[in-house]
């Protein structure tokens, strides 16, 4: 153990010495002892966010979907207390919900018999797969990085990078419970109907905002919404020693909701009000 610690410390010191041996980076530090000592990293910064509301229509696309993908259309309303901190809400409604190739393949080739009767709808397998209908997410936005980028040394765009986090209320339509007391049998075609519920999940992610003017910005955002849901409408859990086997007779309940790290990409067109941004000292 001691040898390992010694090795680790030696490696850390060697890496530190390697980094410290670099000389050219110090060229920047000369300014720190000159007239700019103590000055902020950027002066006369356009404060695109501070004291302004942002209204942003958004379009979101889900990623890595197993059975059904969704396109959300919605909007984001935020107020920025500081240039680096804002609070607001993002809400969106699923306007397009299309099946994946896997869903289509299952529908096309799955044998409908007594072995699959509880898990594959007799007519259209896609109808039993779960849908995301809406998302409403109160959230806070933290903007640690401000800057700009140049494209072909011709186009310069003010940009910021931000993190966001909050609580999401997600509308889910998934196969209703069956096989329990007072519930239809899971082999009954009527049991494949979808039931609605609201899932509560953490939501977080990061994004980039490109300010094309003081009024308008274009945003690209990644968002995660991890929570458990029964995406295929299968009876896959609930029995066996570890609960990872189907029930006999089939029974669908909340144990069949499996964890999924839901992800999506959002494109936004931001409109900031008032129309003019403040400028820092």
């Amino acid at each position: 153990m001691r040898r390992f610690v010694t090795l680790l410390v030696s490696a850390a010191l060697a890496a530190g010495a390697l980094l410290a041996a670099e000389t050219d980076a110090n060229a920047q530090e000369i300014q720190l002892t000159g007239p700019l000592a103590g000055a902020p990293a950027a002066r006369k910064l356009r404060l695109y966010r501070e004291g302004r509301f942002e209204l942003a229509p958004t379009t979101s696309f889900t990623l890595l979907d197993e059975y059904r993908r969704t396109i959300f259309v919605g909007g984001r309303l935020q107020y920025h207390i500081k240039d680096w901190l804002g609070v607001g809400v993002w809400g969106a409604y699923g306007v397009v919900s299309s099946t994946t190739d896997l869903t289509d393949q299952i529908d096309a080739v799955a044998i409908r018999n007594n072995r699959t009767a509880a898990n594959v709808a007799p007519k259209n397998f896609g109808d039993q797969t779960a849908k995301l209908t809406y998302v409403a997410a109160p959230q806070a936005t933290f903007v640690p990085f401000r800057g700009k980028f140049a494209i072909f040394q011709k186009i310069f765009v003010d940009t910021d990078a931000y993190l966001h986090g909050g609580v999401a209320f997600v509308g889910v339509q998934e196969r209703g419970n069956c096989g329990g007391s007072g519930q239809p049998l899971c082999t009954d075609p009527s049991s494949f109907a979808l039931a609605s519920r609201t899932a509560i999940a953490p939501t977080f992610g990061l994004g980039l905002n490109f300010y094309v003017s003081e009024l308008l910005s274009i945003g690209l955002e990644y968002r995660a919404l991890p929570f458990s849901w029964n995406r295929a409408g299968f009876d896959s859990r609930g029995a066996g020693n570890n609960g990872k086997f189907p029930n006999v007779p089939p029974k669908i309940d909340d144990q069949d909701q499996t964890f999924k790290f839901n992800q999506m990409i959002t494109i936004a067109l931001g409109i900031s009000l008032p129309t003019h941004a403040k400028v820092s000292d």
Binding site: T23, A37, P40, A41, A42, L64, G147, T159, S236, D281
Partner: protein, 369 residues
């Protein structure tokens, strides 16, 4: 510190009565006008506290702008005992308080035909270097390259440097089998924006067949063909059209660039037997793979950077035959020709997170700052 004091900042400090030579009133008035303007500027500057504010305590105060220091230490005091007539009054008396006796020295007459003023000009210091009329004409006829760059002295130049980029790759678009793995890229930048290089990723032993596949097969009795990867390698070209800098927490600045990358190479894959694992033992086969991607590189110093890249490897995958094997003989089951069914164009989209080391560590800029 005097040598660092800007021009016009000499009228501070003690009073010194200097007899005013006759015939220099115009010069004095001109200086007075300048000083008044500078003093006005100083008052405006003092009225705006943020202009001189220092963010951090203990730091050196920002020196005032050139000329604005006249009143910074108490202000200028000028006395003129002659009426201002707008014309130099020959023989008029008066005093001007100046803190620098040198300011009272007579102004020499500029040399004829020269641009130097005679007050420390190049013609006084070194007459041989004084520009002559012929030199000016020659300079006028000289062809100059009027090119100017929008941003000069990029923080980290890439031209004629090697980049070593170890990374970790993980899948972005395969919900059935994950393909993580370590990789290494090596690029040589022919110019500041264009590089040629190679990269390779090792997946063997790290592919992950998720529970989702088994649960889906168990519920639907439908087999989804699965594939795993062994390695991938490619020859690539990288183009860097975008760069910029960010201020972090309004306290520090880091530089970054964004690039596009594309190339051609090979990827070695094989199916994971789903239908008849007892008989089907697929072997690795390399396939031609094209790739294209986008990357972001954040410089931690001039030769060390963090990278994030998303790349799509496009190749023709051979998929397992998932038709039922019920009724087949043992010979048919072991016939490799029955194991494959179709080829499908496949996109392996993966993220690559890594570090970049540029060699050599330093360079010289072509243009001055």
């Amino acid at each position: 510190m005097d040598q660092a004091r800007p021009a016009g900042s000499s009228l501070v400090g003690y009073k010194r009565k200097v007899p005013r030579p006759t015939g220099r009133l115009l010069t004095r008035l001109t200086r007075l006008t300048s000083l008044t303007a500078l003093a006005t500027g100083l008052v405006v500057a003092l009225a705006s506290p943020s202009a001189l504010a220092q963010k951090k305590g203990g730091a050196k105060p920002k020196p005032p702008p050139a000329g604005a220091a006249a009143g910074a230490s108490g202000g200028a005091e000028i006395e003129l005992d002659a009426p201002a007539t707008g014309q130099p009054a020959a023989g008029a008396g008066g005093t001007v308080e100046l803190d620098q006796p040198q300011a009272t020295t007579p102004t020499p007459t500029p040399p004829p035909g020269g641009g130097a003023t005679g007050e420390g000009g190049i013609c006084d210091i070194d007459p041989s270097a004084c520009p002559k009329q012929a030199d000016i004409k020659a300079a006028q006829n000289k062809t100059i390259n009027a090119e100017i760059y929008a941003v000069q002295q990029i923080y980290a130049l890439r031209a004629r440097r090697f980049e070593l980029n170890p990374y970790w790759a993980f899948t972005l678009n395969d919900q059935f089998v994950s393909h993580p793995g370590p990789g290494l890229a090596a690029n040589y930048y022919i110019s500041n924006v264009l590089a040629v290089g190679v990269n390779g990723t090792l997946y063997a032993g790290l592919n992950g067949d998720s529970d989702f596949n088994f649960e889906n097969r168990r519920a639907t009795r439908v087999a989804v063909p699965l594939n795993e990867y062994q390695w991938a390698a490619a020859l690539n070209f990288t183009y860097v059209p975008m760069y910029g800098k960010f201020a972090g927490f309004s306290d520090f600045i880091f530089h970054y660039d964004a690039y596009v990358v594309g190339g051609v190479g090979a990827i070695s894959t094989r199916p994971i037997p789903v239908i008849d694992p007892d008989n089907r033992n697929f072997s690795w086969e390399p396939k031609v793979a094209f790739n294209a991607g986008l990357g972001l590189r954040i410089f931690l110093n001039r030769w060390f950077a963090a990278t994030l890249e998303v790349r799509d490897y496009i190749y023709n995958e051979k998929l397992e035959n998932t038709d039922s094997i019920v009724g087949q003989t043992q010979a048919q089951l072991q016939d490799k020709n029955n194991w494959y069914k179709e080829n499908r164009l496949t996109n392996n989209v993966q993220a690559q997170v890594g570090l970049s080391i540029f060699l050599p560590f330093s360079w010289e800029y072509r243009l001055p700052k």
